[in-house]
């Protein structure tokens, strides 16, 4: 690039624009020409699809359970029917013949739960005694265990309520009032953001955005650390305008990929964005920019490019857990709550749960926008402070290194 005089303004601007455009175009080509960049992009797309497909079934259904019915009365058969009609459960066709056999089925993992109905169930009920049924659940896998437990407890509770209604009507209560006497207070539940209580909504979207988040960090680092991209840096370093062009290219690409995840991938698991497009775009753009700032902050704080990448990746990989998607943030130790609050994925995942599943207005997002703002201030501040310090220490190191070298 030719040297420019200080007053050569238009030519300088032209040069800057040319470098910027060159950086932008070259970065786009890298995702096609450089194998590792192409593989990275393909992996993001493929693994996002895989993530969606894993949770395509949305809810757990037909989990095998066994009933050992030692009573075989009208009421025990009703109980079995209620269990069979629950979508989560599938009562095994061949019931166990003894408690020992049932226990073996449970230990081997043939069934996820067993209900043992005692032989005096109906007699006890008739005599006004409270019979006990035994519910044994395999808790080794809590996703299965919790679902089975909930479904079986509900079935037993419903049958018990039915027995109570029969008794209340015998006491002379009219049938239309009997329900009010047995269940005087009921819950009318509204499952906000996930009406079907689907696991896909809980896990699917966070997994996708986590993959995008790691992708943004990695791509940004390949620009800020030229050797990481697998392409040697030009002698004398790359012009800043060119680097800016590359970063803009990555930001736009990631924005496009994020929109693709939201509008093409997530509908596959029946998650359709409920909020307006500009709001979704703004939230996504905030995460992209903040992730790029996070990568920059890691680079500025640590002494070598490899350690910067290591730190960014460690934080990036932990960010799904730090985000509160898998474990509520208020349960974290305080120090880790602070770390989690600086990670861009944290407010984005919380916000996405709302804007994807409920038609929100800008006002509703004010808390999350404030979180983004705080993060931008922290990460920007780190870069502003660390950049001159890094420049200074590098200069000092270079000078010391030169002094030590034979001339």
């Amino acid at each position: 690039m030719p040297e420019l005089a200080p007053d050569d303004g238009p030519a300088k601007r032209h040069c800057l624009m040319r470098d910027f455009a060159r950086g932008f175009g070259d970065q786009a080509l890298r995702f096609v020409r450089i194998p590792r960049m192409a593989i990275l992009l393909v992996m993001l797309l493929a693994l996002s699809w895989l993530g969606m497909d894993i949770y395509r079934s949305l809810v757990l259904t037909d989990i095998p359970v066994a009933v050992l019915d030692l009573d075989n009365s009208h009421i025990s058969r009703t109980l079995r029917e209620y269990l069979s009609s629950a979508r989560e459960l599938r009562v095994t066709a061949k019931p166990p013949q003894s408690v020992e056999e049932a226990q073996g089925m449970l230990t081997r993992g043939d069934v996820a739960a067993i209900l043992v109905i005692p032989d005096d169930l109906s007699t006890d009920l008739k005599h006004g005694r409270r019979p006990r049924v035994l519910l044994a659940v395999d808790g080794s896998n809590i996703v299965i265990g919790k679902n089975v437990y909930k479904a079986m407890a509900k079935a037993v509770g419903t049958v018990a309520a039915g027995v109570q209604i029969t008794y209340v009507t015998r006491l002379g209560e009219p049938k239309d009032l009997a329900m009010g006497r047995v269940v005087p207070v009921v819950i009318e539940e509204q499952f906000a953001f996930n009406p079907g209580t689907n696991y896909a909504i809980y896990v699917g979207a966070p997994l996708l955005f986590f993959l995008l988040h790691v992708f943004i960090l990695l791509c940004t680092l390949t620009v800020l650390i030229p050797e990481a991209s697998g392409v040697p840096a030009p002698p004398g370093g790359e012009p800043k305008a060119s680097i800016a062009g590359r970063l803009l290219m990555i930001a736009l690409l990631c924005l496009g990929l994020g929109l693709m995840q939201i509008y093409a991938y997530l509908p596959h698991i029946e998650v359709v964005a409920q909020s307006a497009f500009p709001l979704v775009l703004a939230m996504l753009a905030a995460m992209v920019v903040l992730d790029m700032l996070m990568a920059g902050a890691c680079l500025m704080v640590l002494p070598t490019s490899v350690s910067s990448m290591q730190a960014a990746i460690v934080l990036g990989m932990l960010s799904l857990m730090f985000s509160g998607a898998t474990w509520p943030t208020d349960m974290f130790p305080h120090a880790l709550q602070t770390v989690g609050s600086v990670m861009p994925l944290t407010p984005f995942l919380k916000a996405s749960q709302v804007f994807l599943n409920y038609p929100v207005a800008w006002d509703d997002m004010s808390g999350y926008v404030a979180d983004f703002g705080r993060q931008a201030a922290v990460l920007g501040g780190v870069i502003m402070v660390a950049a001159p310090v890094r420049h200074l220490t590098r200069g000092l190191r270079d000078r010391l290194f030169r002094r030590g070298r034979p001339t």
């Binding site: 590792r36 593989i39 992996m43 993001l44 693994l47 993530g51 497909d53 894993i54 949770y55 989990i63 009920l125 006004g128 005694r129 409270r130 019979p131 006990r132 049924v133 035994l134 808790g139 080794s140 896998n141 809590i142 996703v143 919790k146 407890a153 037993v156 309520a161 109570q164 209560e173 269940v183 005087p184 207070v185 009921v186 009318e188 539940e189 509204q190 906000a192 953001f193 996930n194 809980y202 896990v203 997994l207 986590f210 790691v214 050797e227 697998g230 490899v306 350690s307 290591q310 990746i313 799904l320 509520p328 208020d330 349960m331 974290f332 880790l336 749960q353 509703d364 004010s366 808390g367």
Partner: protein
């Protein structure tokens, strides 16, 4: 024939780790020692409690006040506010300030007295299934207890003695036995599985990093990459084992994660690492620098874990994923880990999983050797053309 070059490659790797490749040690020790400790610290509470909820009491009767007191007394719930309206409460759910709103309607006590059902409305954030399952279950339990007390009172009013009245309310009792994980705690369920993924990432990343570094600094030369990679992986193997021992014998018992048979768990982890050796050598093949390890391997861990059948039951996954994951050592390893550490099964009882891992070790070794032979031939062909 093979033994001496391999031994030399192993010794070379130790020299490399002690000398120029010291930064590989950060990866080798950081992944199994730093990462698990942070995760263990994160999940130290094990079970989410005191979920923040809001209550709107428009009835303000003795019954509604009792309901609020009961909600407050529950370990799983914490009332964080009393908004004036349900709409305001829902807005605060949108803002993330609370996870549920309980609205008690103005005529609850009157309805109950007159034998009509009172309807309490609950809005729960079900977007997070973990917190939803805690908060909603706790609210349901409180309502259930309230209902049972009202039922007993009704029967007593009808002239039935209190003992008999109690027996008439929800007349079928349940004896619940939650086997293997009585508290159904989330932390002790998820984290041990993640630890196996940590071991997987340890061997994949550390080897790719080391191979990449050796090539970046021209510490290897064409024709010896294959032998170098095998030497490196066996040279690093004691550190992998150290990581596995740290997890199985120290961190699992320390954190109270299921560890019914620590020795058997270590054997399972060892078998898993052995099965991962050829996979790691294959993956490290194209590494040209240290950055390759991070760029190529970081996206993989979470989806593989999700597809392993640990987080979501295998029979609920699409068929092609069920078939593909048969080739991934993480699947049998996680299954075996569940059996030995949670159910207390012996090594004999997890023989199918161990055999699966053994078959994968042999299969992946053959694939890797064939791949390396083809790569060497391709390079040789290119050299002769050149």
């Amino acid at each position: 024939m093979i033994g001496r070059p391999l031994l030399r490659a192993i010794v070379d790797e130790w020299r490399f780790l002690a000398g120029r490749g010291r930064s590989t040690l950060i990866v080798l020790l950081g992944i199994p020692f730093f990462y698990p400790v942070v995760i263990a610290w994160l999940y130290a509470e094990n079970q989410p409690v005191e979920r923040p909820i809001l209550v709107v009491d428009d009835d303000n009767s003795a019954l509604s006040r009792r309901l609020v007191t009961d909600l407050e007394a529950t370990h799983e719930l914490r009332i964080v506010g009393r908004p004036a309206t349900a709409e305001e409460g829902f807005h605060r759910i949108l803002q993330g300030d609370a996870e549920a709103v309980v609205w008690i309607p103005p005529d609850l006590a009157t309805d109950v007295k007159q034998g009509r059902q009172g309807h309490v409305k609950v809005w729960v954030n079900a977007g997070n299934m973990l917190t939803y399952s805690v908060a909603y279950a706790a609210i349901s339990n409180v309502m259930q207890h309230l209902t049972e007390d009202l039922d007993v009172r009704y029967f007593v009013e009808k002239g039935i003695p209190r003992d008999a009245a109690t027996n008439r309310v929800m007349p079928i009792l349940r004896d619940d036995r939650i086997l293997f994980r009585p508290d159904l705690s989330y932390g002790s369920y998820l984290v041990p599985g993640v630890m196996m993924v940590v071991l997987q990432q340890l061997i994949l990343v550390a080897l790719a990093f080391s191979c990449g570094m050796a090539r970046e600094f021209h510490l290897t030369w064409p024709g010896t990459e294959a032998a170098t990679a095998w030497g490196k992986v066996f040279g690093q193997f004691p550190v992998y084992m150290l990581g596995a021992a740290f997890l199985a014998l120290f961190l699992f018992p320390l954190c109270g994660w299921p560890d019914a048979r620590p020795g058997a768990l270590l054997v399972v982890m060892t078998a898993f690492l052995v099965a991962m050796v050829p996979v790691a050598v294959l993956v490290a093949g194209p590494a040209r620098d240290r950055y390759y390890a991070f760029l190529m391997l970081m996206l993989l861990s979470s989806p593989i874990f999700m597809a392993s059948g640990y987080a979501w039951p295998m029979n609920h996954l699409p068929t092609y994923i069920q078939v593909l994951t048969l080739a991934i050592p993480l699947r049998p390893a996680l299954s075996a880990m569940q059996l030995v550490s949670v159910k207390g099964c012996s090594l004999g009882e997890v023989a199918p999983q161990l055999l699966h891992l053994g078959a994968l070790a042999v299969g992946w070794t053959l694939v890797t050797l064939v791949f390396q032979w083809l790569a060497a031939r391709f390079r040789g062909g290119r050299a002769s053309l050149g």
